[in-house]
């Protein structure tokens, strides 16, 4: 499959028969007469459910027709997924009647044993690794930060997710994953007195960004190379320093933290 399917139907049944039924439901006499290929593919699942996926944007809406019809033939629900417009719409059909389901299409498809094509190839699969992130937060201690982050997560923090280290310069935050996520933003939002310096950088520091946060707001962004299009207020120095190495030294954050393995 070369394209992203705009719609899909997840249904029980025998694949060859499903293809035949879907063809009868979706294709018009003119389509048959013109020898058109069906605007869908049937992708066998590894269980009772199989996916019928649509590749032609003109056929958005066909999923409703197919699901409605097939649901008359099976006792289990038949799902119609439409991904042409955001947010995606998932409906379950029983006996010809549809209901909106608040579930992700891919999660649903996987749970039924028929993952949608393309879901295995996402943009994080290429070799490029995301930039790393660490932070220094002034005005907060590790214990308090741990409590706040845990409250925000709603559950105990996973070991290694954050390294919280009190230093003379402030609380230094790093992660075994190389990315502290939004910890600096959360702490700055929850603790209005704190000032956070979130640093995002490439291994060679040729891409280097520092967000200065207070009260959850970004009050300044240092960017190298400079960004003209940033929607954050730009600053040209952090703690009086203008180069990545010196800024890191001023924040007490080791440059090697940004090296990817």
């Amino acid at each position: 499959m070369s394209r992203y399917p705009f719609w899909a139907v997840l249904t029980p049944g025998e694949p060859a028969r499903l293809e035949s039924r879907a063809r009868a439901i979706v294709m018009t006499e003119a389509d048959e007469e013109d020898g058109k290929e069906p605007p869908f593919e049937v992708i066998p699942g590894n269980g009772r459910y199989h996916a019928i996926v649509g590749l032609d944007e003109m056929d958005v809406g066909a999923e409703l027709q197919i699901a409605e019809e097939l649901s008359l033939e099976y006792d289990e629900p038949v799902y119609a997924i439409e991904r042409a417009k955001d947010p995606w719409l998932v409906m379950s059909f029983r006996n010809g009647l549809g209901e909106v389901e608040e579930v992700g299409p891919e999660a649903l498809a996987k749970s039924l044993g028929c993952p949608l094509p393309g879901s295995e190839e996402t943009s994080d699969s290429p070799a490029r690794k995301p930039l790393r992130k660490a932070a220094l937060v002034e005005g907060v201690r590790a214990q308090e930060a741990h409590r706040v982050l845990e409250e925000d997560a709603g559950e105990p923090l996973a070991p290694g997710l954050y390294h919280l280290e009190d230093t003379p310069l402030g609380l230094r935050i790093s992660s075994e994953t190389g990315d502290i996520g939004f910890a600096d933003i959360t702490l700055s939002e929850r603790l209005p007195h704190a000032t956070a310096y979130g640093v995002i950088a490439s291994p060679s520091l040729d891409m280097f960004f520092v967000n200065v946060l207070r009260g959850g707001e970004c009050i300044g962004q240092f960017a190298q190379p400079p960004r003209e299009d940033s929607f954050m207020p730009a600053v040209s120095e952090i703690k009086g320093e203008r180069s990545p190495e010196r800024i890191l030294a001023a924040l007490g954050i080791p440059a090697e933290w940004f090296l990817n393995e």
């Binding site: 060859a16 018009t28 417009k85 608040e102 999660a107 997710l161 995002i200 946060l213 009260g215 929607f231």
Partner: protein, 1251 residues
């Protein structure tokens, strides 16, 4: 659980296209009516109690009145006594099954042997005391006929009169919704040959009789050279079979089938396995089983043993899977007094078990037995039992080996040798354990008076040794070609040996040669074979039947260009006399081969049927028509090739001279026909009356033969073919031969391969793919439109043979049809086009349709008209010089010729149907002036484009199929639509008109009213009109609903231009204002659309230095992005723009979920959904950022909180660096969303808050 199989499928086995499929589509459409009714709970249910006691009451009711069945209803059957149920709508079986009660006293439904498992009635209640099944009666099935329920009692009531209930099925109304006319088949596509898995024996496939071996090989395996990878099986056509005439094939290695065919076969086998396993278990768990039952179980086991080479999806053979069901009894002692031994090991059926044990020993991979095979190895000993033949009544006989005939290193070599041996009789080839292949003669262990298995083609052979190939006596393989490489060498060697051995007195070595070997004969050798047979006693001795058949095979397998010389030989004095004097049915094959080769090699011209000499054969009441066939030498004139005009045909007095023949006066043998009429006036008295002798006929002249009898027919053939047929002195042989005249499979299969340009000698077909000749030929085949289309179209006509045969016009049409098929068998449409056959086909078809009128069924009407239209389109293209007929097919003189041909075809279809429609209106006494004007206008438009020609065809056909008043109203609506269309909307108009003519469209008047609004709207963009028209034609938008919305023109244009617009969802939301979940989803979507609108409308402001150049752009990867910008600097770099209508809350939730996933936190369902969305955004941005595009833009609301903004910035920096965020004014987004909601009539207030 699956509720039921509905619609067109016959199990998983139908693999058909074209006309057959179109008909199926009609059935499916009918079934949908049922489905929709079911959804509404409005199905009518007719209840019948299947009880012996209830029967008399039912019968009384039945006698008093014949109820009219309510369309789309359901038969609900209360099962009280076991029996066998068959429900038929007209002649079509719509449900069948054995209803009984298992050991657990619960209802069981099992398939009946004669019907596919898919036709089982559906169980609705298994509860003891409340058992019920139901049968859906598809709307339109058997229209106008009877719905018949037959229930034959089983068990203790067996033999009692069956319960029969009937209802009158409503006729097809001449209504839009139930319009009976068949859809336009896929006539101009080189559609794949229709195939069907045999429902009872899924290892067999039904294929069209007109297909050649290489066409079948291509269809079955995707490899046209695999002509020897399947065998034809002499099967009876299953009752109720529809579609083109079929022959049955068995594939030697099912694993080599194309995947979709293998899947269909497996699907059918799975279904049958399930049914057989259930049946087997019920037999083995029964309280008693007699020897007959045990034999039946063994037979079923052997049937599955033959499927040991067919593997299911997991790689397990179907035999092993069946044995799995038996395995539970494997170690049991013989039960139910079935034997006196106590040996275990698959011996639970006593003495009857032996065949099963032998099959397991030789064919199962998974299951073992201690059974010892004593046949010897690797050479099987004479007398070895290698298989069993089962008659249809369950009686069986052993197949034993006689002597070893040959031993070879490959199956192909062994088969070649065995097939070309002079001796006849049963032969088998069995692979040995040493890897060699051995051919043996074989026979049956028959007791005195036993039936001869070879006379029972309905019986089944079960072989113990896997890979056994059966060769029946007289099992010839036309169409094999003589092959290449070592096989061609072997064929040559076999031929040389046979030629060297044969003498006029002892020609036996020649008599077994098959077509593939005979195809290697040189001209001289062919003449020598003829001389050998004609000079000696072969044609008059005991071997004359074989000798005449050999002559037929020689003619069939010879190159076309050598036939004229052979024709001289065959029709010369001495030979002709011998041939006419014989009484061998093989003469009929020789005659057919003669006509086919004559058509392909001589410029024969068919004049009108009325001008042809007509002769009568057959029986008509007390009268029998026969012909005497004298011959004599007459004068003729040979015309030099250069002076010969093909248009004048071949006749006595003017016929083309052969190369080397001197032009001028000559002599040749002519044929005469003397009618002889026998009248049986009293029981023992009869009189014979001889009619006048016909004029002298050239053997190549066309004659017309009227066959009298219960099913009168008309045939066209050469005088020579008639002479060979009519000169059979044995009238029973003559009648039998007459009955088989329409069967031309042998001729078709034989000539189609050989008529092609030969492949380069000594090189395999694959190797020549790149060769100049092969490439040129393939190109020619690709360019060619018509032959396969015409063959397929005419083959559909064949399915109406019975109906056609009822009238004189029908018989005459069929006669020309058969001749056209014969001509097409040679793949030579030029002959067809120049011989006058096409013209006569068009003429006869027209007479048939005009004279049969409403009496002809819609299907017949449709298929005949199709054939006429195709023939006429070919003629028109030729006459206008737009196409040239060549031996390879039609060539087009201008680029785009193939498309022009299609346009011509549809225009012709339109013209024919228009004439019918107008005739109908006038015939009803209505004024046709306006309708004529409309159809004329469409005809003019049809000349402009193929789309318009298709529209014309569809409209005219629909009008022709409607009652006159409705046709008038329909055409008035068409005219109104046509007249209202803006000039720029013509392409959309063509689509909408075409759709209005589709039989599946229930209300074309309403459709066209809405379409009129669409194509006549002055402010709708042309692009928007085109997209909306396409969507309206496929049912993806309801134009009536769209018209009812209050969308501002600017918004409507914007939304309509978007192919991805989910209109159906909006319509559904408007219809369900109280559905909060749906409303919230749709609101979010409208917000996104509002964002896209604002982005486009504010593009200049939002993207200074860029111009918007595209919408919904497909990216190089897999995704689509909302807009495309192009930089206005000199670089003209393109950038993708993705618009997200997400508000602050949605962004925050999505980003937090994304982070939670990165932190390996277990996500709930909502979080997973959010992650999917954000991942999709990343995928889109990554796709959009790929070179040569520049950095992408992300458009979002400007109203984001500080933390959300910071998180988004953070997220983009890390995951989609370079992406530039563009912000829209939230107030504008809210306002636009609100406008859209109001325009679409969606509720403003939602409980639970707006998103």
């Amino acid at each position: 659980m699956e509720k039921k199989h509905r619609g067109s499928e016959v199990g998983a086995c139908a693999v058909t296209r074209g006309a057959v499929q179109s008909f199926q589509a009609l059935l499916v459409a009918s079934c949908l009516v049922v489905g929709l009714s079911a959804a509404g709970g409005e199905l009518s249910r007719e209840r019948v109690t299947l009880s012996v006691e209830a029967r008399p009451r039912d019968e009384d009711a039945q006698r008093s009145r014949l109820e009219v069945w309510q369309e789309g209803g359901v038969l609900r059957l209360r099962v009280m006594d076991p029996g066998r149920l068959v429900v038929k709508a007209g002649s079509q079986v719509i449900a069948a099954g054995a209803l009984g009660f298992g050991e657990d006293q619960r209802l069981r439904v099992e398939p009946l042997a004669a019907h596919p498992p898919t036709a089982l009635p559906r169980v609705v209640n298994r509860e003891p005391g409340q058992e019920e099944v139901e049968v859906h009666v598809p709307a339109g099935a058997g229209a106008g006929g009877l719905l018949t329920l037959t229930y034959e009692w089983d068990w203790k009531h067996e033999g009692k009169p069956a319960l029969v209930r009937t209802w009158l099925l409503p006729p097809m109304e001449q209504d839009f919704a139930l319009e009976e006319e068949l859809d336009e088949p896929d006539v101009l596509q080189e559609a794949p040959l229709p195939l069907q898995v045999d429902p009872a024996r899924p290892e067999l496939l039904w294929v069209p009789g007109y297909a050649s071996r290489d066409e079948l090989a291509s269809r079955l395996f995707g490899d046209s050279s695999a002509v020897d990878a399947f065998d034809f099986e002499p099967c009876e056509v299953p009752p109720g079979a529809e579609g083109v005439p079929g022959v049955c094939v068995r594939v030697r290695h099912p694993g080599a089938l194309l995947p979709e065919l293998l899947a269909a076969m497996r699907g059918a086998l799975d279904a049958q396995l399930e049914a057989d396993v259930e049946w087997t278990r019920s037999q083995l768990t029964a309280t008693s089983l007699d020897r007959g039952g045990a034999v039946a179980l063994v037979e079923r086991s052997l049937r599955w043993s033959q499927r040991s080479s067919i593997l299911d999806g997991s790689g397990q053979s179907y035999f092993d899977r069946y044995l799995h069901a038996l395995a539970a009894w494997r170690d049991e002692s013989p039960r139910w007094h079935l034997g006196d031994t106590l040996v275990q090991d698959w011996h639970f059926l006593g003495e009857a078990s032996e065949p099963l044990r032998k099959a397991i020993a030789l064919r199962s991979k998974r299951w073992k037995t201690s059974y010892t095979v004593t046949d010897g190895s690797p050479v099987l000993a004479p007398g070895s039992v290698v298989g069993r033949f089962y008659f249809s009544d369950g009686f069986s006989v052993q197949v034993r080996l006689l002597v070893l005939l040959t031993e070879e290193r490959s199956l192909e070599r062994a088969e070649l040798r065995v097939r070309n041996l002079p001796r006849s009789g049963l032969r088998v080839i069995i692979p040995g354990e040493d890897g060699r292949f051995r051919g043996y003669s074989a026979d049956f262990s028959l007791v005195d008076g036993a039936a001869e298995p070879l006379e029972h083609p309905e019986g089944e052979y079960y072989w113990y040794y896997p890979g056994t190939v059966l060769i029946r006596p007289g099992d010839w393989r036309p169409g094999m070609g003589s092959g290449t490489g070592e096989l061609a060498v072997l064929r040559r060697a076999i031929l040389d040996t046979a030629l060297a051995k044969a003498t006029p007195e002892e020609p036996q070595s020649l008599l077994g040669l098959d077509h593939d070997v005979l195809a290697l004969l040189t001209t001289e050798e062919r003449m020598s074979v003829f001389d050998t047979l004609l000079a000696g006693p072969a044609l008059t001795s005991g071997m004359k039947e074989d000798a005449v058949h050999l002559l037929g095979r020689v003619v069939l397998s010879m190159p076309v260009d050598e036939f004229p010389a052979l024709e001289r030989e065959l029709t010369s004095g001495g030979v002709l006399e011998k041939l006419l004097g014989g009484n061998e049915p093989g003469k009929v094959l020789l005659g057919q081969a003669f006509t086919q080769k004559a058509l392909a090699s001589f410029p024969l011209v068919l004049d009108s049927l009325e001008s042809l000499p007509t002769f009568h054969l057959g029986r008509e009441g007390e009268t029998t028509h026969l012909l005497n066939v004298p011959s004599g030498l007459v004068s003729t004139t040979l015309v030099a090739q250069g002076a010969w005009s093909p248009k004048q045909g071949v006749r006595l007095g003017a016929e083309p001279a052969l190369p080397g023949e001197a032009a001028g006066a000559s002599k040749r043998m002519a044929l005469y026909f003397e009618p002889v009429r026998h009248e049986f006036k009293a029981r023992y008295l009869s009189s014979a009356e001889e009619g006048p002798r016909s004029r002298a006929l050239h053997p190549l002249e066309w004659v017309r033969v009227e066959v009298h009898g219960p099913k009168p027919r008309t045939h066209l053939m050469t005088a020579m073919e008639l002479a060979l047929l009519a000169s059979l002195p044995d009238t029973s042989l003559l009648w039998a031969a007459l009955g088989r005249l329409g069967e031309m499979h042998m001729v078709h299969g034989a000539v189609s391969t050989l008529a092609r340009a030969p492949l380069m000698p000594g090189v395999t077909a694959t190797a020549t793919q790149g060769g100049t000749a092969a490439v040129a030929r393939q190109a020619a085949v690709r360019e060619f439109i018509g032959r396969m289309s015409l063959v397929a179209t005419l083959a559909v006509v064949d399915t109406w043979r019975d109906e056609l045969s009822r009238t004189r016009e029908g018989r005459e049409f069929l006669a020309v049809h058969d001749l056209a098929m014969l001509a097409l068998a040679g793949r030579d449409i030029s002959r067809l086009a120049t011989s006058g056959i096409l013209r006569e086909l068009v003429h006869r078809g027209g007479l048939l349709l005009s004279q049969s009128g409403a009496r002809a069924s819609a299907g017949l009407h449709e298929s005949v008209e199709l054939a006429r239209a195709l023939a006429k389109a070919i003629e028109r293209m030729l006459a206008e010089g737009k196409a040239i007929a060549t031996p390879e097919g039609l060539r087009f003189s201008l680029p785009g010729g193939a498309e022009a041909f299609k346009q011509a075809f549809f225009a012709v279809r339109g013209e024919m149907a228009a004439a019918r429609a107008l005739g109908g209106i006038r015939g009803a006494g209505l004024v046709a002036q306006e309708a004529e004007k409309t159809l004329d206008a469409l005809k003019l438009l049809a000349a402009e484009s193929q789309e318009m020609a298709r529209a014309y065809s569809a409209v005219a056909r629909r009008a022709a199929a409607l009652p006159a008043d409705k046709a008038q109203a329909y055409l008035a609506a068409v005219e109104s639509l046509r007249a209202s269309a803006r000039g720029a909307a013509k392409p959309a108009l063509a689509e909408l008109l075409r759709r209005s003519g589709a039989p599946s469209l229930a209300d074309p008047l309403a459709f066209m009213k809405d379409a009129e609004w669409l194509v006549g709207h002055p402010e709708l963009d042309v692009e928007a009109v085109g997209i909306l028209a396409k969507k309206a034609c496929t049912g993806r938008i309801d134009l009536g609903w769209l018209r009812s919305t209050g969308l501002a023109m600017e918004d409507l244009n914007f939304m309509a231009r978007d192919k991805l617009m989910p209109w159906k969802h909006f319509q559904q939301a408007a219809a369900e204002p109280g559905n909060g979940t749906l409303q919230r989803q749709v609101r979010k979507r409208l917000r996104g659309i509002a964002g896209e609108m604002l982005t486009e409308r504010n593009a200049q402001k939002l993207f200074p230095g860029y111009r918007m150049t595209g919408r919904q752009v497909k990216l190089e990867g897999k995704h689509v992005i909302d807009h495309e910008l192009t930089s206005m600097d000199g670089l003209r770099i393109q950038h993708g723009v993705e618009v997200k209508g997400w508000n602050d809350n949605k962004w925050r939730q999505a980003l937090d979920a994304w982070r939670a996933k990165q932190g390996a936190t277990k996500l709930d369902k909502e979080q997973e959904t959010r992650v999917e969305h954000i991942q999709h955004l990343l995928d889109q941005l990554a796709d959009a950022a790929k070179a040569p595009r520049g950095k992408p833009f992300l458009v979002s609301t400007g109203k984001l909180s500080g933390p959300t903004r910071a998180k988004l910035s953070d997220f983009l920096l890390k995951n989609a660096p370079g992406t530039q965020l563009i912000q829209l004014e939230e107030a504008q987004m809210l306002e636009k969303t609100k406008q859209l909601r109001a325009a679409l009539k969606l509720p403003e207030d939602l409980s639970g808050g707006a998103p």
